[in-house]
Structure formats: structure tokens, C-alpha cells
Symmetry: C2
Amino acid sequence: MEEANDNIQFKITDELIEQVEQLIEAQNDKEIESLFKDFHYADIAEILNELNLEDSLYVIKLIDSETTSDILMELDEDIREKVLQNLSAKEIAEEIEELDTDDAADIIAELPLKRQYEVISNIEDEEHKAEIQELLTYDEDSAGGLMAKELVKVYETWTVAGCIRRIRGQAENVTRVHSVYVVDKKNKLIGRLSLKDLITAKSDQKIADIYISNVDYAYVDDDVEDVAKIMAKYDLEAIPVVDKNQTLLGRITIDDIIDVIREEADKDYQLAAGISKDVEADASILQLTRARLPWLALGLLGGVGAFLIMEGFQESFAKYAVLFFFTPLIAAMAGNVGVQSSAIIVQGLANDDVRGSVNSRLIKEMLLAALNGTALAIVLFLFVFLYNGSFLTALAISVSLIAVIVVAGLIGTFVPLFLHKRGIDPAIATGPFITTSNDIFGILIYFLIAKLILGF
Amino acid sequence: MEEANDNIQFKITDELIEQVEQLIEAQNDKEIESLFKDFHYADIAEILNELNLEDSLYVIKLIDSETTSDILMELDEDIREKVLQNLSAKEIAEEIEELDTDDAADIIAELPLKRQYEVISNIEDEEHKAEIQELLTYDEDSAGGLMAKELVKVYETWTVAGCIRRIRGQAENVTRVHSVYVVDKKNKLIGRLSLKDLITAKSDQKIADIYISNVDYAYVDDDVEDVAKIMAKYDLEAIPVVDKNQTLLGRITIDDIIDVIREEADKDYQLAAGISKDVEADASILQLTRARLPWLALGLLGGVGAFLIMEGFQESFAKYAVLFFFTPLIAAMAGNVGVQSSAIIVQGLANDDVRGSVNSRLIKEMLLAALNGTALAIVLFLFVFLYNGSFLTALAISVSLIAVIVVAGLIGTFVPLFLHKRGIDPAIATGPFITTSNDIFGILIYFLIAKLILGF
């Protein structure tokens, strides 16, 4: 009996890396080949991500080209960049020949422009070359930028038997066949057929009689995030891509969409945490600084703003020192509420869950904030009153807390809705941006209300 | 020519909802049926989510059962709960008969226990019933809880022709055929075949001669998140599920995995934003309060902690009031840095990106925080010095800032790694949890260092 979880748990270990490094140092090519033969290319890429450049190149040049092209695709982008720099245009072109058009175009797009031309001119298969060149013309965030040219296409006039014969030819170049797309003479998409339908149909039937005309498709310039939503919502595993005349251009498969969904989620998460740019835990200190410092600088600016406000109220300092001791609490609550409400809106917008008018949203958030705020204010009132003994001070602090929470909730709701209406990604409104502005507003409101109640 | 983006943009509008409501009020069944006939079930579910319960039930009872079962699956969970409450056990069982086993089990699992039995006993198809009952025994977060019993299975002893014949029978019950799974006499999974392979093989070949023995699979009690990672990493569109003896039990398809990935991302995002429980923008005020208030209460506690620290230093108040004006800045920076570093670790852990020792992580974060902190401290020093004129005060504040940022970074790095090691979801360490503790630590460190430098 096999050990449980044998196959699902490929875990890269320090021992494995060490073993590989020793084999490379000993130039024990046979051992390396036999070790890597059993690994999936995605696993090999994980190993290469951990090696130094020289060792990675050694392995890549050793392994046969069909696998290395897949490995290249799976490498971390910065590692791939370095590897590609150390390959000749001809070597890259050879890898490209092995890849599907979408992956091929992605890799070429990462190269410097001059090198792009060199690599393309080295691609021998003229059809592959032309297809890649076409894909390079589309925006990378559009359906065209994500699609592959590989697909299985049949004409409505064919019979099932003829179809299966032709598919045998076409399918060789298509890694996975989800659907067979049916086109008319002008290559316009008119329907689809699943392989299952084809297998279960009689062989002398005409495609025109059995195809399903109700086919979902994307336009070549649709935004990939919209395509992702459609595919997730309708549980599609592949979607054909057409131009404005319904001419079939390519298809997008679900594995590429999963990457889009994950990247989008990662990006929103990072923005909420105050990390711009896509960095990973393993990025260099400089990369991490570039991603993190700007948001911290924003926080610094907010802190200076809070300082100026407090300084403006300093004449009341001697008498109401206790007020100043609660400013971190006020700022924290304003920030927390702002992040909560903006996160719910941002997530709702991402899932197309937010309907109804802006006003009704704001009223709901106001009620919610007032409810939460009152509950918290009662607790705070009791604490301050019992600790400090001054009814008025306790009242001033807790009433301000309610006001601050309500305003923070409104800002957190309004800003992302406003940005979204303006066509700006609302996710930037979460995290440090909302925290910082709410800190300042919160402290200002707090002192203004306290001044009103305490009369300083 | 069709209008651009005609099909990809089904957008639910207030006008559409109003139209549906009016048709229901007028009991214009014909119009309703013809309106909904052209809609995808996922779109109909979106519309029903917006109607009141009575109207939703009206539509559901009107539309034919094959579509309503799919609509039920797509409804928001709280709406579905209400709809199911208003259907008899027999009616629910009829819907269940139309669903795949995985969806059927999911819906039944949502019902109260007593009703589960009633519904199950009303299912007429004995095989379907037994399969659903089997699925209900698995943990919902395990591969078993996600898999469906529907799959296409062939024995190694069959020929290609025989295989295609049998697949015609089996495939009727399987919505989408990704792979054909090859088993031995004892139903042990030994390999797979794609439909493409089957179509391109000669009809008298034996399955034993053409199947691919290298097949990825999941064990029935594997965690769904691990299964999701494997499927995303290896670009699998379906994965067979086996028990410890390799007996083929079911399969998981990629559309279910997409939901797992999205839910996981949503959950982490909400935790980072201080929202516990899975709530949507459209949830009730009470639900939203339950999800948000606990985190705010934590923030309040932290604020009180900060208050107590500041109060402890109040004798230095008269002389160094300016110190107190910078506490919101210190707290904000500590919180921001903590969230940044914890978010990177949490995301890295989620993507299996975090390797190497805890110590090397901490050293890296310390260097990074020191670098960021110094840059920010220089700016702050210049501001305080120029504004306030006191060299020592400016020095105290900016040196403390560096210390606070370094400590915040270390806490933000250490806590999620620690939780992860203990088997606790590190995502809870992001958001309010880290902000609050860093607020307190930050302000404490700030005053201690300031005291040391200024000597009060």
C-alpha cells in the first residue's frame, strides 16, 4: 500500500535542494536527469527558483526542450528574466516553438523589444510565428491578451465522421479539448459541440443538425476580469473569443482564468495591507521597500496632520490632558471602521454584489456605525467616568467616539463607491489611504465635539 | 451586426426587477416564462435574489424543475434557506433528483437534520440516494465533501470501441467529461485517458495499452485548500478522488475549486479588514454588526491600553507636550508596518512561498524595517526640529520611530509564522489584531525611548 498523501504533497525541502546542488557540482548529469524525470515541470520550476542562476541554467540546458519550455513558464518572473538573458535568441525561439501560442506570447512580451524581434525571426514554424505576432498586438489585460490560438474548429457543413477525422489532426496541437467550436463559411462563430456530444452522435449526422447554437463568448477587447467573472458565474471551462464581426479568433481556458482570479485577489489584499506592486515574501529588501515605503510615507503625513490638529488645541491641555490620552483610541477606531466599511464595499463591487443607490448604502452604513458606535461609546463612557470621575469629560469623549465612527463609516463607504464610479480601482481606497484620512478627520471631529461639550 | 458586448454583459437593472415584479403581480405566467426562457439559470438566480420571498417562490414554482434545481444552487444562501423552508420535502427531493450528487449533498446539508431525512427518503432514484448519503458522511472541507460521484470510468480490459459504447451510457449522467478514469477489476484507480486520446485511438485497441498511468489524484480526506493548490499548480481541470486503498470514489471539477479559491481569498481579505464571518455588502445590519463589532471592541481595548500608558507618563506632560501630540503618528506607523509585514507572510504562507528559517525571515524584516524606519525618521526629524526647534525632542521622536517600526515589523512577521506553526490560520493575525497590539507596544516603546533620551 502506498503511503497516504504520497502524490499530493510534493514538498520542496532543503535536503532536496542540497542534493540537486551537489549533483550539479559533481556534474552528475545522469543522476540529475533520472531525478528530474519523475518530477512534474511545475515542481522542477519550484526547485529551480531556489537554485542560483548558474545551477538553474545547467539544469535547463540538460533537460530536453519540451519540458524546459513548460518549466520556463512556471518559473518566478524575475528568475525567468535572468534565465532568458542567458539564452540566445535561437535557444529561446526553440523553447517558444514548444509552447502554446498564449504562453509563447507571454514570454516574448517580457523580453526587451529588440530581443523580441530577434526571437520571433528565429521561430521556424511560420503559422506559429504569425499567431504569436497577432497575440502580441492585444492589450495584456484584454481577452485577446489572454487567449490562445489553439482550438478545435469545425464547419457546420461537415458530418460527425468527417469531423472526428479532422479533429484527430487539429487536436494534436491542442493540449486540452473542452469544446469544439462550430463556424460558418466565413469563420463566424455560430455554435459549439462538446466532445461528448460528438462521441454520442451518429457518424453520418451533419454538424449543422446537432450543434448547440447557444454559445457564450468574449469579445477580443473585453477586460479579462469581466471574462473571469463570466466564466466563474456560468461555470465555463473555456470560452471562445471573437472580434466585432463574430469571427472566431481564439479561446481562453479556465486555468488562465484561475491565475487572473488569484492575482486580482492578491492585489486587493496587498492594497488593503498597504503594499503596492506585486511583491512576494521572497522579494528583495529593495523591492519590498519600494512596495511599502510610499504607504508608510502617507501614514507619516497623516500623523503630522494629527499633530498639527492636536497642537491647535493645546491651550486646553492643562485642564483636559485626559482628552489627549485618548487620541490613539479615537484614531484607531476611525481607522478600523473605515477599513471595515470600505472592504465590504470593495469586495461587493468585485463580486458585483453592490446594487441600489449610493444614498441607501450611506444610510445603511450610518445606522450600522451609529449602532456599533453607541455600543462602544457606552463601554468607554463607563470606563472614563469610573476612572476619571468627570461626567462631562466622559460624555465628551464617548459622544465624540460615536460621531467619529459614523463619519469614518461614511467615508469608508463613499470613497470606494466614488472611485468606482470614476472608473478607478476602488481597492486603493482600503488600507493606509482610508486609515490615514480617517485618523485626521477622526481627531479633528473629536476635538471639535469635545470643545463644544466641555466649552474650552 | 450585433451590438458589442451583447452577451458578456448581463447586467441586472432596477427596470428589469420592476418588470418582473409587475408581471408577477399581474400573474402573467406566459410573459414570465418567455422572459426567463432566454436567461441562464445563474442570471435568473440573480434576479430572484432581488425579489421578495413570495415573488421568488412564484417564479420557482412556475419554471420547470430542471432549471429550478440549477437556480436553487445559485441563489444566495440565506435566500435559498427561506425558499427551501417553503417547499415540501417531496418538492425538494424532486429538485435534488435533477442535481449532480455534489450539489444535491450541499443543499441537503443546509437543511435541519430532521428535514434532511424527510428529503432523502423522498428521493426515488435509489442509486442517486445512496451516493448522496455517502457524500453527506464526508467533512465539508475535505476532498470528499467537494467531490461528485458522477464520473466516467472504464476498465483496463475494455477495447476502445467497447469503451466508447459504454461511455455513451455513462456520459449521459455526467455534465462534463474531462477525463475518463481507468480502473482495475477491484475499482482501483490505475490511470486516465482523455476523450481526445479515445477519439484519436484505433477502435480495436485495448485500454490497457493506451491509458496514461501517470494520474494525479486526491485522497478523500485531503483538505480542499490543498486540493485547490494542486489543481491550480498542475493546471488540472478535474481530479479523481480515491480512498486509502486507491479505490476510485469520485471526482472534483475545477469550477468547484474556483469557488474554494474565491472563498479563501474573500475570507483572508475580510480578516485583514477586521470583519469576521462571511458577510456581504447586502447582509442585514445585525449580521454586519456581529461581524464587525468584536474587532472594534478589540480596538477599543487597545485604545484604553494606550491611554493607560500615556497617563503613566503624564508627569512629563507640561514640559514635553509635543511628545503626546505625536502618539497618533507613532500608533499609525506601528499599525501600518505590522499589517504590511503580516500580510506578506500570510500571503506567502497561502501560496507556499515562505521557505527558510524563522530567524532569517526576522532578520530580513528587521533590516527592511530599519531601512524604511530610518528614511521616515529623517523626514520626521527635520519636521520636528524645524517646527519645534528642539534638537533633543526631534531626536527622541525620530529615534523612537525607528525602534517602533522595527518592533512592529518583527511582531508582524513573527505572529503569523507562530500561528501557522501551531496550526492556527495565520490570517487572523492581520488586521485589527496586529494593529491593536502594535499600537500598544508602539506607544510604550516610544515613551520609554523618549524618556531615556530626554531624561524625564
